[in-house]
Amino acid sequence: MLMQFIRSFKFLILVSLLVLPIIFNQIGMSFYLDLATRLCILAIAAVGLNLILGYGGMISFGHAAYLGLGAYAVGIPAHHWLYGGLDFLATNNGFVHITIAVVISGIFAFLTGLICLKTKGVYFIMITMAFSQMAYYLFVSIEEYGSDDGLVINTRSQIPLINLDDPIQMFLVSFSSLIFFMWLVHLITKSNFGLILSGIKDNEARMIALGYNVYLHKLIAFVFSGIICGFAGVLLGNFTTFISPEMIDWSRSGELMFMVILGGVATVMGPLFGAIVFVILEEVLSSITIYWHLPFGLLLIAVVLFFKGGLSSLLSK
């Protein structure tokens, strides 16, 4: 009975998320549609991070890098398509953008993962932060793509039959992508690989003793996770059409972690709940003051200090 209620509650949330923003848009309040689109995009990134953080116990403080890489995978080809140069890369084709994002995110995750995953605990956290910062400085250093000031593209990825310039279609693409990735990650966690991953999170030493190549499994999960966030980046780049290194700033990574941990790790709906809480908090607090980081920071400190066992207790489900 309780399970049915919970399941229907989740279903209710998803349906509301789909329907309400569109209704608000139709009655003239397009703000909520934009909010919901952004929410979906962040939730996809949170789903990606949850795969390795929630299910795998790998605490990455550098996942915003993939959002940035995905966004630039749209921005850079679009920039050349609009303004010339680098003809082999210049394109407006959405499928090409997605492919570039997936490949680049995958390679970045693979190469950095090779190094990071040789470490544990706080070393791992710091090294993921460092690599993310590396990506940040990389994009800052490239004058052609706006460096600090960012890249503005006034076109969106072209996908057949879909017009991303229409806010409703942009929202629907984001929403359906979110559902897709939630389902995909759910499948992965219920699979044999998923069982192994949760075994690794629980007791890595034992899993090695049982004969599993733990390093390789973590690396594969890490790459999957990066690719999902990279896809979210493609949507983000399309949504904002303003792509800047700020997307890779490590406080963005911190916000993603906040969403995953507070939303409920190792659950299907957790990342979405976390994204909802974060976006609402951000909206509410920033409507009170532009200095919303202050109450948000205090809230974070309070939760860490007063939550029994600390936030890290939320990690071991």
Binding site: I59, F61, T112, L114, I115, K118, T119, G121, V122, Y123, I125, M126, I127, M129, A130, F131, Q133, M134, Y137, L138, V140, S141, I142, E143, D249, W250, S251, G254, M257, F258, I261, Y291, H293, L294, F296, G297, L298, L299, L300, I301, V304, L305, G310, L311, S312, L315
Partner: protein
């Protein structure tokens, strides 16, 4: 090859290294001895710069501003330890990270409220603003030499403190066996607060030293903290010696890379390719170096001895 430029850039590299050391040494001490990960260490560096800037204008003297800022930063560090760090010692490293991340948001916003969004420049007094002639072609700004001197003094001072004084002995003892030291009647909590204050002061000094060159600004803490983490990862967590070596290495690689990488690339690439790729690669250079060192020595150059 312009040797004058090379020498100047080497000096700049050493200067950057020394500043990184000031920040990283506090971080590695706090991590190595208190087992506490402090992301907000960079914010203290920023506060050092801003407080010194304000005081310079109030007192009309950079020197007095520095002298007055030091105890203020020490007190800030001490307070931070009591209210935020101490409750978190018993917790997981992840809680340290998230808690101090929250602290960064709070401190950065407060700084924004107090000092505004723009940076504050600190004018140098005349006697520090000049040049020193080293040889017929080479003139070096006095202040940069001063930074190097101050940094090296701090480095040796710290090494002396930790290895040759009673306080240092207590610190090292408290790190390896807290309970025992407490049983001997030493107030470990105050001891740790002192360590924290020392680390904070060092970071503050770094901020005060860099501000006349780059001005005090809101983002400076967040920029330096990651580099400081790279330093302590490469140097080995808890090792002051490692922080020193790694800081100099990183300072030199970063500075020399930015200046000379395009020249190096031109040796085997076209000029256009060199000039396009060099800025990007040099911005990544210290991270690439970190990756390289970690693949051979995953615990850094001077890894901590297992307690």
């Amino acid at each position: 090859m312009d040797y004058t430029l090379l020498l100047i850039q080497i000096l700049n590299g050493i200067q950057l290294g020394v500043l990184l050391f000031l920040v990283a040494s506090g971080l590695t001490l706090i991590f190595g001895i208190l087992d506490f990960v402090n992301l907000a260490h960079g914010s203290i560096y920023m506060l050092g710069a801003f407080i010194c800037a304000s005081l310079t204008y109030e007192l009309d003297s950079y020197l007095f501003a520095v002298i007055l800022s030091l105890p203020i930063i020490a007190i800030i560090g001490y307070t931070f330890e009591i209210f935020l760090a101490r409750p978190l010692y018993a917790r997981d490293h992840l809680d340290h990270v998230l808690g101090t991340f929250g602290a960064i948001l709070v401190i950065d916003t407060i700084a924004h409220l107090i000092w505004g969004p723009a940076g504050i420049a600190i004018p140098l007094p005349n006697y520090l603003d000049g040049q020193i002639t080293i040889s017929e072609n080479i003139e070096v700004p006095t202040f940069r030499l001063l930074i190097i001197v101050v940094g090296l003094t701090a480095a040796f001072g710290l090494l002396w403190l930790v290895n040759f004084t009673k306080l240092g002995m207590l610190i090292r003892a408290g790190a390896s066996n807290r309970t025992m030291v407490a049983a001997l009647g030493i107030d470990v909590r105050t001891l740790f607060a002192i360590v924290f204050a020392i680390g904070a002061t060092l970071a503050g000094i770094a901020g005060m030293l860099i501000a006349p060159i780059t001005e005090a600004s809101l983002g400076m803490g967040n920029n330096i903290i990651i580099t400081a983490f790279v330093v302590i990862i490469v140097g080995g967590i808890g090792s002051v010696k490692g922080a020193f070596v790694a800081a100099l290495l990183i300072g030199l690689i970063d500075t020399l890379g930015r200046s000379f990488l395009d020249d190096l690339f031109k040796v085997f690439m076209s000029t256009a390719a060199a000039e396009n790729s060099a800025p990007a690669i040099s911005s990544m250079s210290i991270y690439l170096m970190m990756a390289l060192i970690l693949s051979f020595k995953p615990k850094g150059l001077f890894p901590p001895r297992i307690r």
